[in-house]
């Protein structure tokens, strides 16, 4: 009975976990440099930007929705934050205003999308396709198409700094994932996310304020996209209006490879983490093996397909 329970608990991430370990072993065997602290920290840094967004996207996809606006929000929140850094406020206050406003933009965008979805009953795909276009356009309008340069000293620390050799974005990513995991598995909000994704009408009739749950997942997704946007701007030490193009696809790939069902109701943050790492390790490993970058794209695509296929087969067996 207890072993039955353990398998039930593990089965969600089991397949993808095995795939990840295999991949890891394969690259460690093929490249001497792969399994060094330097390289692994580097992989985590490269993965962090999309992984943080993927944590938020997991909540959205669990409700059966999708958020296509995240890539554009990366750019727009980055632009707004970097612009605010140049208003001449004292550094501490300036940083705080820039970061808080950047995050607020993401949250507000999510709230707006959630409102349109729940109030006017428009498909999430359509609403966030629209906000995606709106924010991308806004980023170019705001900057007239030019990057925001010459940022104050110290801002670069967020994206390029290290604490005890660990990159700051990596630390923020890990904290984001821990917080998301706890939120999803231990709080009422998390439980309601699964319920809404599993059967929204039954959830409503069980007394769940489903509209509120939906709006909150888009707020979370937007805010985390904005957080990533700020980190990316810091790493590039500039606000770029064309930052984060097509990130939504990498993010959705990480979530789906991690075993979260696009139809909602099933999936996990742990799965998403492994999914994001699997893709990042794959890219890194192929780079180390000097695989041509065009060929890399093909391989990444095939791996995404294989991962999801394996997951489907496993589900069918059950």
């Amino acid at each position: 009975m207890t072993s039955d329970r353990i398998t039930r608990k593990l089965s969600g991430e089991f397949g993808i976990g095995i795939a990840f370990i295999l991949e890891f072993a394969l690259f460690a065997f093929a490249s001497p440099y792969f399994f060094t602290p330097d390289n692994l920290l580097n992989v985590s840094l490269q993965a962090s930007i999309t992984a943080i967004i993927a944590a938020g996207m997991t909540f959205v996809i669990l409700t059966g929705g999708i958020d296509l606006s995240v890539g554009s929000l990366v750019a727009f929140a980055g632009i707004v934050a970097t612009s605010l850094l140049k208003t001449g406020l004292p550094p501490a206050a300036g940083f705080a205003v820039a970061i808080v406003t950047g995050l607020a933009i993401g949250a507000l965008s999510g709230a707006f999308a959630g409102f349109c979805i729940t109030r006017f009953n428009i498909a999430p795909f359509i609403v966030t396709l629209a906000t995606m276009t709106i924010w991308r356009g806004a980023a170019f309008v705001w900057t007239d198409g030019r990057p925001v340069w010459e940022l104050p000293e110290g801002f670069a620390f967020l994206g390029t700094g290290r604490i005890l050799a660990v990159p700051v974005p990596t630390i923020i990513m890990i904290l984001t994932f821990i917080a998301s995991h706890v939120m999803l598995t231990r709080t009422r909000f998390g439980r309601y996310v699964y319920a809404v994704g599993g059967n929204i009408e039954a959830a409503r009739l069980a007394g769940i304020r489903t509209g509120r749950v939906l709006i909150n997942v888009y707020i979370l997704s937007g805010a985390l996209a904005a957080l990533s946007g700020i980190l990316l701007a810091s790493r590039m030490n500039s606000g770029q209006p064309n930052a984060g193009v097509a990130y939504e696809l990498d993010v959705i790939a990480a979530v789906v490879v991690g075993g979260t069902s696009l139809s909602g109701g099933a999936g996990s943050i742990v799965g998403t983490f492994i999914g994001a790492m699997l893709i990042a390790v794959l890219r890194n490993g192929l780079n180390l093996l000097n695989v041509n970058s065009y060929v890399q794209q093909v391989i990444v695509g095939v791996v995404i397909l294989l991962a999801v296929m394996l997951d489907q087969i496993r589900r069918k067996r059950k």
Binding site: R186, N199, A202, L205, A206, R209
Partner: protein, 496 residues
């Protein structure tokens, strides 16, 4: 003469479960053989084997004496086997004709183009055999459930079906539609079609059946002509023991008022006045579509109210959402537990606690121990059959699923509980448990309203029966004077 269908020693194993342990079943041409048994008895599994949806582990299937090769749905179709499932396999956006001829569309000459006229003619012909006139060009999604069912039967007929299995076909039908379905079944019999009929409504079995086959726990128990057994005997075969009384009615003293509704209205309900007292079980009767579920949903805040007032324990409440209604202490066990009640991918525990998570918190976090304790206690109390509360509800039988929803509402500590068709599709044994529970709740002072289309059930367990017709409350019958006739008179009051 060889029987039309002879299934012998059918065995089907699932991991850890023997779903069918050597079941025999025979069907003659032109007869209705009713397949009965409690939930989990193996009826659906047997039908799935026959339809090729699952492959048997052992056993033989003969059709007119010939060993049938039956490993896939395509085999079943080739052999003339058709199944009408509860949830129809129709494409809502396609027209009636397109659905009936799906996959067998006639074409113009040898071209790739569909012969629309030929299609309409063929579809009309198939419907004509049923005595149905349905516009073959209207989308199936626009039809009533009863008409969709007819389209499904016509679809089977157009494929020259000889063996037709029907799984709870009358569940979504009104009385009149049921009578029509029975007429169609009789005409199919005359054409030599053998019909396997599954239903939990025993009256129907005695009305439409020629023979009856009883399964229990995956095993064959009994088969005989319908005239050789009575209702009581049939229940005994199904349950495996004697049920002393099908409907237990508690003797209770009517207490104080707990719920009062005044002139409650919506677009489907008009001006309903009703008072519910502590210690009674109030029935809500009426034909399908009379507005009973809609009235319940209004009180529960699930639908928009256009007028009227609701008083709970003398205090006016105005729930605008189920969330608010639950906070006031009103619970609604919705009809169709799979669609409106349960989150299928969630565990028993998570489904039970879903409406009462606030009480399960320690700080901002759900306290797993509190949650598990409550779920364990309720699932023991209601005798939910599962190894532990972590089992996903999708893997439970209908009766156990209903108990999970019941447990959820018991956990909310509601003051008024409305049960909408609580025993639909549930076997006799579990029905009895649910009746007993309803009585217990009434005794504990909870206001109980039961909506049911099963009139003998309502008369059997309720102290008063309120009757609705076309959105209006047309009468209230006291238990002592309640008969099927008086209730049906009120249920038809507004009809010409």
């Amino acid at each position: 003469m060889e029987p039309l269908l002879a299934m012998q020693g059918i065995i089907k194993r699932y991991p850890g479960v023997l779903a069918l342990s050597g079941v025999d079943f025979t069907l003659q041409a032109g007869e209705v053989n009713c397949l009965v048994g409690e939930n989990g008895a193996g009826k659906s599994t047997l039908i799935k084997v026959l339809s090729g949806a699952i492959v048997r582990d052992a056993g033989s299937i003969r059709i007119e004496g010939n060993e049938a090769h039956l490993d896939s749905p395509a085999d079943a179709q080739r052999l003339g086997i058709g199944v009408i499932y509860q949830d129809f396999k129709l494409v809502p956006a396609l027209t009636v004709a397109e659905n009936i001829l799906l996959g067998t569309e006639p074409v113009v000459g040898r071209s790739p183009f569909i012969d629309r006229k030929g299609m309409d003619e063929k579809a009309s012909a198939a419907l004509g055999l049923l005595g149905e006139e349905i516009d073959t060009r209207s989308p199936v999604g626009h039809l009533s459930v009863a008409k969709q069912q007819m389209v499904e039967i016509a679809k089977a007929l157009s494929r020259n079906v000889r063996i037709l299995a029907m799984d709870e076909p009358t569940a979504p039908l009104t009385e009149w539609e049921t009578a029509n379905l029975f007429k169609v079944i009789r005409s199919l019999k005359d054409r030599g079609v053998g019909i396997i009929y599954i239903s939990h409504r025993l009256e129907e079995i005695f009305e439409v059946g020629d023979r009856v086959t009883v399964l229990r726990d995956g095993a064959f128990v009994h088969a005989c002509g319908i005239n050789e057994i009575d209702r009581r005997g049939l229940i005994r075969k199904m349950v495996g023991r004697e049920l002393e009384n099908e409907y237990p009615r508690a003797v209770l003293a009517r207490g104080t008022e707990i719920l009062r509704i005044e002139n409650l209205s919506s677009d489907r309900v008009s001006n309903v006045n009703l008072t519910l007292y502590r210690g009674e079980v109030l029935g809500l009767a009426g034909l399908v579509g009379a507005g009973r579920s809609e009235l319940a949903r209004l009180v529960f805040g699930a639908d928009r109210r256009t007028g009227g007032r609701i008083f709970l324990d003398g205090k006016e409440i105005a729930p605008e959402s189920p969330h608010e209604a639950i906070r006031e202490g009103i619970g609604l066990l919705t009809e169709d537990r799979n669609r409106y009640g349960l989150i299928m991918q969630m565990s028993i525990r998570e489904n039970i606690s879903l409406s009462s998570l606030r009480a399960m918190l320690t700080g901002p976090f759900i306290d797993r121990r509190k949650e598990e304790t409550a779920a364990r206690q309720l699932s023991d109390d209601l005798r939910i059959k599962a190894p532990d509360t972590g089992v996903i509800v999708e893997n439970l039988s209908g009766g156990n699923r209903q108990k999970v929803v019941l447990a959820r509402w018991l956990n909310t500590k509601a003051r008024v509980l409305i049960f909408d068709e609580p025993t639909a599709g549930i076997d006799v044994g579990v029905k009895y448990e649910i009746y007993t529970l309803i009585n217990r709740l009434a005794r504990e002072g909870i206001g109980v309203i039961v909506i049911s289309s099963d009139l003998p059930e309502l008369l059997g367990i309720c102290h008063r029966v309120a009757v609705m017709c076309e959105g209006e409350l047309t009468g209230i019958v006291e238990g002592t004077e309640a008969t099927q006739e008086t209730v049906m008179t009120y249920a038809h009051k507004n009809r010409r």
